[in-house]
C-alpha cells in the first residue's frame, strides 16, 4: 500500500484563475492511496517546497504528485527537492494543470474537471512508481580520431594540446588526406603543402598523439567514456622501428604502379612513400604489386636495406583499446563520374580529368612538376574548359546537393591555368556561382579579370574530334548553343561520402542521411555531436565543405571532447529500458529497433521449470540507453519495459482517466 501526497499549486492566479483548486484538492483526497492532499500558492518557492517536505515527514509519504506547471518547467526542481527527503527523486509525478489546462481554457468548470482528471492520472501513475537510480560511468580520457586528413589532424592536435592522449587511425600510408594533394588553397592561394605538411609533422611528433597509418577501425563496442575499439593495422612489410626512411629501397624497386596520390597521372614503386613529405616518412610495400609477395621473385629491397627493416612475413595487427570519445573525420571521395556520365566520354578521353587530377598536374611536386600538360600527349593545353556541378545538383545521375567547394576551386583552377599559360583560353561552364565566404566573391571576380570566360549552362556532351575535345553547351544568358574545342577539360566533380562512411556509421550508431553523409545531432544547434554520446563529427564526413569549415568543425569537435574529458565520470539516465530475463525469448526484435545499439543478446544459464536452461536473452546497456522505449513496443513476449514510463503505469493512467 503506497502512501501518496498530492499538492496542488495555485501559481498565484495562473492556475487558480481558471481552476477551482479547492475542488481539486477535495477530489484528490478521494483517490486511492492518497494520504494527504493540500494546496500551495507557489509550490516551487522555498516555502512551497518546505511545506511538502514537512508533509512527507508528517504523513510518512513514500511518493508525491504535484499539480502545477509543466514538468518541462519544474520536474528537475522537485526531484532535487526530494533528494533532501526520504523519498527517491523518481517517486514523483507532475500533473500539468497550467500550460495544458488553466492557460488554455476559459471555463472554470471545464478547467476544474480537467484538472481533477489530470491529477487522477498522475496519482494512478505515481502509485506504480518505483525508486530509480542513476549510475555513474567512468570516463577514459583518451580520444580516438578516425581519419588523418586536415579535419582529423586539427581535432587530434587540439585534443592533444588540451592534455589528453589521442590515437589517429588513418587508412592511407600517410597523414594529410585530400588537402595535401592540393596545390594551392583559395582564396589566399597559400601553398597547400606549406600549411598542411607542418600540421602533419606536428601530429607526427606530438607527445600525446599516436599515429596508426594503413589502419582501420574493425570493431567498436561500449559507450560514451568507455568505447572498446579494435583497430586493424595492416601489414606494412617494413619495420618502422628500424627503418630510417632513407629511401634506398624505393629507388631500386623494379615495379611501377599508377600512383594513387597523383590520381593515376604519375607512377610510384611497389615499395613506396606516397609523397615526399609523407608522415610517417617511411615506406610501405604494396602487397598486390610487390614481385616478392606475388610471385616470390625479386626481394631487392630486402637485400639492399641497410637496417634490415624489410619483413615480408609481416602480418596485420589487431589491437583493442579503450577510448572515452571518438571523433569521426573520414572525409569524402569524389564521385565516380566516369561510370555516370557517358555524355562526357565516360572516362574514355584521357584529357578529360577531375579537379583533383588538375591539382596534381598544377602542383610543383606533382608528376609534371607543375607544368600543365595534357595527360594524353604531354603538350600544353591552349584551351581549357572547366565544367562545374558534375555530379552535384544532378539528382538523375549524381547527387541532388551542391558540393559547396567547387565554385571556388573551379575559379582557382581557372586562375591557376591562366597564370601558368598566359596565352591560354579558359572557359568555365557553370549553373550558378556560389561564393559565400570571406574574400570568395572577390576571388571569383578576379578570375574573370584574369580572362576566364564564364558560360552559364551545363555541357550536354564532350567528344573528341580532330584531337580536340568538343564541349557542346548553351550560353543560357544569350540563348545560343556554344561549342568550345578544348585541349583539356576539367570536371569539378561532386563530393560524396567516403566508402567507409556507411559501415563505420552503423558500427558507431551514427545515422546517415539519404546520401550517406554522417548525421549530426541537430543541424543548427548540435552540429558536431551525433546521436551517440561521445561520438563527434569533423570535416567532410558530415557533408561537403571547404578547408576553413572543416578546420572549424574539427576544433569544435575537439572542444566537445575536452568538455567531456573535463569530468571524471558521467551520470547515466535513470529512466531507461530493462529486460525481464524470465520473459525474454531472445528473439532480438529489441536489438534491431534500438537506434543506439544499446541492446545486445547475451547467453544466460538459468533455472526454468526446475531445469537449468542456457539461452539468449536481451540486455540493456545503461550507458547507451536513452530511454525512448521503442524496444518495449517491439517486444512480443513483453519482457522489455521502460522505467518511469512502464506499461503498467501508462495503462493505469488510461484507466484512471476513464473509470475512476
Amino acid at each position: 500500500m503506497s502512501r501518496i501526497g498530492v499538492f496542488i499549486c495555485h501559481c498565484g492566479s495562473n492556475i487558480a484563475g481558471t481552476v477551482d483548486v479547492a475542488r481539486v484538492v477535495e477530489a484528490a483526497r478521494s483517490f486511492p492511496n492518497v494520504v494527504v492532499a493540500d494546496d500551495n500558492k507557489y509550490t516551487c518557492s522555498d516555502p512551497g517546497q518546505q511545506s511538502i517536505k514537512e508533509a512527507i515527514v508528517e504523513y510518512n509519504l513514500d511518493r508525491i504528485v504535484i499539480a502545477s506547471c509543466s514538468p518541462r518547467m519544474h520536474e528537475l526542481t522537485f526531484r532535487k527537492m526530494l533528494k533532501d527527503t526520504s523519498i527517491n527523486p523518481y517517486m514523483l509525478e507532475i500533473a500539468n494543470i497550467r500550460e495544458q489546462c488553466s492557460w488554455v481554457h476559459k471555463d472554470i468548470e471545464a478547467g476544474t474537471v480537467k484538472a481533477i482528471d489530470l491529477v487522477k492520472m498522475a496519482t494512478a501513475k505515481v502509485d506504480k512508481d518505483t525508486p530509480l537510480f542513476t549510475t555513474t560511468i567512468p570516463i577514459n580520457k583518451r580520444a580516438l580520431v578516425i581519419g588523418g586528413g586536415i579535419a582529423g589532424m586539427q581535432a587530434a592536435l587540439d585534443i592533444a594540446d588540451a592534455g589528453y592522449p589521442v590515437t589517429i587511425v588513418e587508412a592511407e600510408p600517410s597523414l594529410g588526406g585530400k588537402m595535401v594533394m592540393l596545390d594551392k588553397t583559395f582564396p589566399t592561394m597559400d601553398c597547400s603543402a606549406c600549411i598542411c605538411t607542418p600540421k602533419m609533422a606536428d601530429v607526427g611528433s606530438h607527445p600525446n598523439i599516436t599515429v596508426k597509418t594503413l589502419s582501420e577501425v574493425e570493431q567498436v563496442s561500449g559507450y560514451v567514456g568507455n568505447f572498446e575499439v579494435t583497430i586493424r593495422e595492416k601489414a606494412k612489410y617494413v619495420d618502422y622501428a628500424t627503418c630510417t626512411g632513407c629511401g634506398l629501397c624505393e629507388t631500386k624497386c623494379p615495379t611501377k604502379v599508377a600512383s594513387e596520390f597523383d590520381q593515376g597521372l604519375g607512377q610510384r614503386k611497389a615499395i613506396y612513400k606516397p609523397f615526399a613529405q609523407a608522415v610517417p616518412s617511411k615506406p610501405t610495400i604494396d602487397a598486390a604489386h610487390c614481385r616478392k609477395l606475388t610471385s616470390d621473385k625479386c626481394g631487392v629491397c630486402e637485400k639492399l636495406c641497410p637496417t634490415k627493416a624489410i619483413n615480408f612475413a609481416d602480418e596485420d595487427k589487431l589491437t583493442t583499446e579503450t577510448y572515452g570519445a571518438i571523433v569521426v573525420a573520414i572525409g569524402y571521395k569524389l564521385i565516380d563520374w566516369g561510370a555516370l556520365y557517358g555524355e562526357y566520354g565516360g572516362g574514355r578521353y584521357s584529357d578529360v580529368i577531375s579537379g583533383l587530377q588538375f591539382e596534381r598536374l598544377v602542383n610543383a611536386s606533382g608528376p609534371t612538376e607543375g607544368h600543365i600538360t595534357r595527360p594524353s600527349d604531354g603538350t600544353e593545353p591552349k584551351t581549357v574548359a572547366i565544367i562545374k556541378c558534375v555530379g552535384s545538383r544532378d539528382p538523375e545521375k549524381g547527387r541532388s546537393y551542391c558540393s559547396r567547394a567547387c565554385c571556388m576551386y573551379g575559379a582557382k583552377h581557372a586562375h591557376q591555368y591562366l597564370d601558368k599559360v598566359p596565352d591560354g583560353r579558359c572557359y568555365v561552364f557553370y549553373m550558378d556561382v556560389r561564393t559565400p565566404g570571406k574574400g570568395y566573391d572577390e576571388f571569383y571576380m578576379n578570375t574573370q579579370h584574369d580572362g576566364a570566360v564564364y558560360l552559364r549552362g551545363r555541357v550536354s556532351k564532350i567528344f573528341e574530334q580532330g584531337g580536340k575535345l568538343i564541349c557542346k553547351g548553351e550560353d543560357t544568358l544569350i540563348g545560343k548553343q556554344v561549342e568550345v574545342a578544348a585541349d583539356m577539360v576539367v570536371l569539378e566533380t561532386a563530393m560524396v561520402p567516403a566508402d567507409a562512411a556507411d559501415r563505420l556509421g552503423s558500427m558507431l550508431g551514427v545515422t546517415r542521411d539519404k546520401d550517406l553523409w554522417l548525421s549530426e545531432a541537430h543541424p543548427k544547434l548540435r552540429p558536431v555531436e551525433t546521436n551517440s554520446g561521445g561520438i563527434y563529427l569533423a570535416g567532410t564526413c558530415q557533408g561537403p565543405k571547404d578547408i576553413p569549415d572543416s578546420v572549424a568543425q574539427a576544433s569544435a569537435a575537439a572542444m566537445k571532447v575536452a568538455i567531456l574529458f573535463s569530468k571524471d565520470e558521467l551520470e547515466s539516465n535513470a529512466m531507461i529500458a530493462g529486460s525481464d530475463a524470465s520473459l525474454c525469448n531472445g528473439c532480438g526484435a529489441c536489438v534491431n529497433i534500438c537506434p543506439y545499439s544499446a541492446i545486445t543478446l547475451e547467453e544466460v544459464t538459468r533455472r526454468e521449470n526446475s531445469r537449468m536452461v542456457t539461452r539468449q536473452v536481451s540486455r540493456v546497456n545503461p550507458g547507451l540507453c536513452q530511454g525512448c522505449g521503442a524496444c518495449t513496443v517491439a517486444c512480443k513476449p513483453g519482457a522489455m519495459d521502460l522505467k518511469g514510463f512502464s506499461d503498467e503505469q501508462i495503462m493505469k493512467e488510461v484507466e484512471a482517466l476513464c473509470q475512476w
Binding site: 509543466s70 514538468p71 518541462r72 500539468n96 497550467r98 500550460e99 495544458q100 489546462c101 492557460w103 488554455v104 481554457h105 476559459k106 471555463d107 471545464a110 478547467g111 474537471v113 480537467k114 482528471d117 489530470l118 492520472m121 545515422t511 546521436n531 529512466m575 526484435a589 534491431n592 529497433i593 537506434p595 543506439y596 536513452q626 530511454g627 525512448c628 522505449g629 521503442a630 518495449t632 513496443v633 517491439a634 517486444c635 512480443k636 513476449p637 513483453g638 521502460l642 514510463f645 506499461d647 501508462i650 495503462m651 493512467e653 488510461v654 484507466e655 482517466l657 476513464c658 473509470q659
Partner: protein
C-alpha cells in the same frame, strides 16, 4: 446513435511525445491559446513508446477519441521512434477501422515543439469531430470481436493485438 445526454462531453486522450508535441502543447499554453477542455494529454518519451494496446484500452475503458502525436518524420529526438510509430499506428488504424471504429476517432499527427498553433488546431478539429460522432459505444465486446476477425486476416497478428493482452505487440 442512441440519444445523447445533453451534458455529455467527449473524453479525448492524446499521447504526446515529450520532445515535440508535449512542448508544442506547453507553448500553446504559454501563448494563451484556447482549445476544448476535453483533451487529456498523456506524456510519453516518444511516440514510438505508444503501444497499440494503450489505444485499445482507452477505447475499451470509455475514451471517445484517441490522438497519437509525435515529432515530424526525420525530427525524432530518438532518431527513428516516430517512423516506427507511424508504421505501427497506420496498420493499427486500419485494423481499428476494420472493427467498425469511425476513422475520425483515432488519429496520428506530427506536431513539433514550435507548432503551438497546429496543436491548437488539431485539438479543436479532433474534439469537434469526436463530439459530432457522439459517445463511443462500441465497447470492449465489439472491439475484441472485430480484432479477432482482423487477426484471422493477419492484420492483428502483425500488431500482436487481438491476442492476449496485456503484453503489447510490434509492427515491425
Amino acid at each position: 446513435m442512441s440519444v445523447v445526454d445533453e451534458k455529455w462531453e467527449p473524453t479525448v486522450l492524446a499521447f504526446c511525445c515529450h520532445w515535440c508535441t508535449y512542448s508544442g502543447a506547453d507553448l500553446a499554453g504559454l501563448n494563451r491559446m484556447n482549445y476544448p477542455a476535453n483533451i487529456r494529454v498523456l506524456r510519453v518519451p516518444c511516440s514510438g513508446r505508444v503501444n497499440p494496446q494503450y489505444v485499445l484500452t482507452a477505447f475499451n475503458k470509455g475514451c471517445d477519441g484517441v490522438l497519437v502525436c509525435g515529432c515530424h518524420p526525420g525530427d525524432c529526438h530518438y532518431v527513428s521512434g516516430n517512423y516506427y510509430a507511424k508504421r505501427r499506428m497506420m496498420a493499427f488504424k486500419r485494423l481499428l477501422e476494420y472493427t467498425g471504429l469511425e476513422p475520425e476517432r483515432f488519429q496520428v499527427r506530427w506536431i513539433s515543439g514550435s507548432e503551438a498553433g497546429k496543436f491548437r488546431d488539431t485539438v479543436v478539429d479532433f474534439c469537434e469531430k469526436v463530439r459530432a460522432l457522439g459517445p463511443y459505444t462500441g465497447g470492449a465486446v465489439s472491439l475484441s470481436e472485430g480484432l479477432g476477425a482482423g487477426a484471422e486476416l493477419g492484420v492483428g497478428a502483425e500488431l500482436g493485438v487481438g491476442a492476449e493482452l496485456p503484453q503489447g505487440g510490434d509492427a515491425q
